[in-house]
């Protein structure tokens, strides 16, 4: 039996088949694990952004017939557009083409889904309250899942400060904004979120927000505020 040619084994692998799609996908996943190990190409995380040129024209925005937001890596090398899936009370959820969703409450990111180390939920002050004040101290708690599906909560002490108005440009629109800087510190982590609020309002036009220790920061452009249908 030892002398049987390996080609028969190879043919067995090639001819593997099933009438059941679930069995097929399970076998492919198993094979994928070995492929990943051998090629050392384990990709731990999906990327919330895809690579394309950073959009900078009104014409680009006009092609969308439904509300969108644009997310970007902090270096602006990768971006993705997310479409609105709808809202549950004040919480608005957007989804990317590869199935990652982001939920916001008045511009503050409160949850991610499908993004590996997801922000499961957030305990936070009402955005309208913090954005309407020039200075506030408050607490935030980020909730994640660990590898055993148990909660891993990180408690932050935050200070929020509103800065002087300034102009920014988003897709050929020049906007006067108030920058709100939120500095949060926990025992192990620190982050600084930045929100550009339409001047004199609590409407977030652009933000840089921290998701989790692994996923870090990303930028959000609330383009739906500039869209015309």
């Amino acid at each position: 039996m030892r002398s049987l040619p390996l080609t028969i084994l190879f043919i067995t692998f090639l001819s593997a088949c099933t009438s059941d799609d679930v069995v097929k996908s399970e076998k492919e996943e198993l094979l994928g694990i070995f492929k990943n190990i051998t090629s050392k190409s384990i990709s731990k995380d999906k990327n919330i952004t895809q690579s394309f040129a950073f959009p900078n024209s009104k014409k680009w925005l006009e092609q969308f017939k439904q509300p969108i937001i644009l997310t970007s890596s902090t270096d602006k090398k990768n971006q993705a557009t997310l479409v609105s899936l709808g809202n549950n009370e004040e919480r608005l959820t957007w989804v990317s083409s590869d199935g990652i969703s982001l939920s916001y409450d008045d511009g503050v990111l409160i949850a991610t889904r499908g993004y590996s180390q997801d922000l499961l939920s957030l305990r936070y002050e009402k955005p309208k309250k913090i954005f309407s004040l020039s200075y506030l101290e408050y607490n935030k708690t980020h909730r994640y899942l660990n590898g055993e599906n148990r909660y891993n909560e990180i408690h932050f002490e935050c200070t929020g400060k509103k800065m002087a108005p300034r102009s920014i440009e988003i897709i050929e629109y020049t906007l006067l904004v108030d920058r709100y800087v939120e500095t949060c510190v926990s025992a192990k982590h620190k982050y600084i979120n930045e929100y550009d609020l339409l001047s004199g309002t609590t409407v977030v036009m652009k933000s840089k927000q921290w998701i989790s220790p692994i996923n870090r920061y990303f930028l959000t452009y609330n383009l739906y505020a500039l869209q015309q249908f």
Partner: protein
């Protein structure tokens, strides 16, 4: 020698910087640099008072002076480490070597404090032939961020050189009655001479450590064999190189004579590389005003719900809308995590059902048997209100109810029934611990087929074609003393050789006499070695953490060619089982009754079940068969490992890989060799209150 070691250790201290009282940091999940060449916490061969991260599973292998060891270790509890080892030791009947299995335990009594060392106690080779038997008490202390010293006192092998009178007063080492091996040996522990041992490690940089040891192990067996080595002094030196926390290499110079090399690998089920997973986001809950207002008939709602749930990999089979309740029957073939699956079903139903529906009654249908298992009721308003809320899952759980489903079977509509299914894939069959070839295997192709006559009745079979391997070359014969119900397995592999064979072919009938009572009857060629009738009945209330089972079989031995022939050898077995899910991660199963060979006894199985699906367990069967009759190994025992595939991929999948490591296959305590899928309890309890609650954190994932 002791003085020389002290000088050497002192020089080490002088040569490298000395930073006092700064404990070494530890990786949270994996630490393979703390493993020694026995696969246990330690430096080279000696133990140290440390532990591995809770839950870590390590596989390590070491080679030196003719010795080869392969160790499988597990951090059983936060402070308790266990290891199973298979070693080739110089001196013996197999080409001048002995192949030996051994088990170790190591318990960290207290952790290191600012001024106090950590202290651990341990026993080596306490089940087995005792070749490696030894006990120790060891203290370890970090001196600065780079230096760690351990000092201990050892008995048995660790007390052979430099000995002094037993500190507990027991002057002579009590003899171990090894008998046929494989039994627990306790009487000799901490008796006879004891000796000191010392070890030092110095962290050269982030990845590399210099390690040295002063050992009192005389290596009598190894040094008296021409296949072994010469022990020139008490000292071993080495370098540990931590490639990353999951992979460490050790190079050593053993006792002034032999080069050694070890590879340590570790994985921690608690450390999922994908955290909360990368499955696509679920459908969000929409405010009522955004939902479709079009009046739809029930059929349209069913179709729409089926389509959307299908996108999530969930099969919606039945739906009725009555009195404010949407009652659905679903088959889950994708989600290992039941709570997450429930969340996704509720999201879709919230979107598709009319707004007068107030609650969703979700009935889970088992794919294989069509049995209705559990019924989970979720209030629509509570789900919608708690989505994206910080403590939403906790608040929602307060309003969720569940019980065993009252329905019996799901009956497919004639036009949609998928009666026939098949799959053709490679298979691998292994046999371990044959001294002539420790890893034997056969790879081949397996054709699995199933034909469903009725909802609860099917015929299923497995045809295998071996292609290459060594299982047909086992030289050992079956055990004597008992009817050969299992230990003659090699005759089957030998006679089948490279021929096509029938692995199993059974008619399976499922029954559900009441909502908590389930039964399965298998008739036919049950497994490679036995054919006959087998019936299993289980009682399981999914709201309770326990259940009961009864497994009865009347079988006849199959011919060794894997065909349809039967031998004139008849056996029967009946086993009663108690299952108990402890409040923590542990699951206990106790079986009692008559085993295949006619022996009476009991099996205790215990396994640590991680909340993400990983399981690591052990079992032992003791029956009225004397150890001498059972033969080498004395009784049936083993280690079980189960690894969910979604842990490795981050995607939704219910498949998993399993492995059972049995040191010896005997006839006493033998059961039918059926896959876990043939035991109803695990299929029912998967949808239990405990399992759903433990994973309720994912209901909004």
């Amino acid at each position: 020698m002791f003085l020389r070691y002290l000088v050497l250790s002192g020089l080490t201290v002088v040569l490298f910087s000395f930073e006092l009282m700064k404990p070494l940091g530890a990786n949270e999940f994996e630490d393979t640099a703390s493993l020694n060449m026995y696969g246990m916490p330690g430096m080279i061969e000696l133990p140290s008072a440390t532990n591995l991260p809770d839950g870590q599973i390590s596989i390590s292998s070491s080679v030196f002076g003719g010795t080869i060891r392969v160790n499988l270790s597990f951090q059983i509890l936060e402070n308790l480490t266990g290891a199973f080892r298979y070693a080739r030791i110089p001196g013996g009947d197999f080409n001048g070597y002995t192949w030996d299995r051994s088990f170790d335990l190591h318990y960290l009594l207290n952790r290191e404090k600012s001024f106090l060392p950590a202290i651990a106690i341990g026993v080596r080779d306490f089940i087995g032939t005792g070749i490696y038997t030894g006990e120790y008490l060891v203290a370890s202390k970090s001196l600065g961020s780079k230096l760690n010293v351990s000092a201990g006192i050892g008995w048995g092998r660790l007390g052979e050189e430099n000995g002094f009178n037993n500190v507990f007063g027991s002057k002579t080492r009590k003899n171990i009655n090894y008998g046929t091996g494989g039994t627990f040996n306790f009487g000799h522990l901490f008796t006879g001479n004891n000796s000191p041992f010392f070890s030092v490690s110095y962290k050269i940089n982030k990845k590399m450590k210099f390690i040295s040891e002063f050992s009192s192990d005389s290596y009598i067996r190894e040094t008296s064999s021409p296949k072994g080595f010469t022990r020139r002094n008490d000292i071993s030196l080495g370098i540990k190189y931590e490639v990353d926390p999951t992979f460490t290499l050790i190079a050593t110079w053993m006792h002034g004579d032999a080069l050694g090399l070890a590879v340590n690998m570790g994985i921690n089920p608690r450390n999922s590389p994908y955290y909360s997973g990368t499955e696509p986001a679920p459908m969000p809950i929409l405010q009522e005003k955004y939902r479709s207002k079009a009046q739809k008939v029930e059929r349209e709602i069913l179709d729409e719900s089926q389509r959307l749930l299908g996108l999530d990999g969930i099969e919606l089979k039945t739906m009725t809308l009555t009195g404010g309740t949407a009652k659905v029957g679903i088959i889950n073939r994708k989600y290992f995590n039941i709570s997450q699956m429930i969340g996704r079903v509720v999201r879709i139903l919230s979107l598709t059902t009319p707004s007068d529906i107030e609650e969703f009654q979700i009935n889970i249908i088992d794919f294989k048997s069509n049995l209705f298992l559990s019924e989970i009721v979720v209030k629509r308003e509570n789900f919608e209100q708690n989505e994206l809320k910080f403590i939403g899952p906790e608040k929602l759980w307060e309003t969720v109810s569940m019980r065993n489903s009252k329905d019996t079977f799901f009956y497919d509509a004639e036009d949609s029934i998928e009666r026939f299914s098949f799959s053709l894939y490679p298979y691998i069959d292994t046999s371990l611990f044959d001294p002539e070839d420790p890893i034997r295997f056969t790879v081949g192709a397996e054709l699995l087929t199933k034909y469903k006559f009725l909802a609860s009745t099917s015929i299923s079979g497995s045809l295998r074609q071996p292609i290459a391997g060594t299982l047909d070359d086992i030289k050992r014969g079956p055990k004597a003393g008992l009817p050969n119900v299992r230990s003659d397995f090699m005759h089957y592999h030998r006679d089948i050789s490279s021929n096509l064979f029938l692995n199993y072919l059974t008619l399976d009938q499922y029954l559900k006499p009441s909502s908590n009572l389930y039964a399965l009857v298998n008739i036919g060629f049950l497994e490679l070695m036995h054919a006959g009738v087998r019936a299993e009945v289980i009682w399981k209330n999914n709201r309770n953490p326990y259940g009961f089972g009864l497994d009865i079989a009347q079988v006849q031995k199959r011919g060794t060619d894997g065909g349809f022939k039967l031998k004139n050898e008849h056996f029967n077995t009946y086993l009663a089982s108690l299952y108990y899910d402890l409040p923590n991660d542990w699951i206990i199963k106790i079986d009692g009754g008559r085993y295949l060979a006619g022996d009476f006894g009991s099996t205790i199985s215990i396994r640590r079940s991680f909340n993400n699906g990983w399981e690591f367990g052990a079992y032992a069967t003791l029956t009225d068969v004397p150890f001498e009759t059972w033969g080498e190994g004395s009784f049936d025992k083993g280690i079980t490992i189960k690894a969910p595939i979604n842990w490795f991929t981050g995607k939704k999948s219910r498949s998993y890989a399993t492995a059972t490591i049995k040191p010896i296959t005997g006839d006493g305590g033998a059961k039918l060799n059926l896959s876990e899928q043939n035991y109803l309890y695990y299929r029912v309890s998967e949808y239990s209150n405990k399992n759903i609650l433990d994973n309720w954190t994912r209901v909004f994932r």
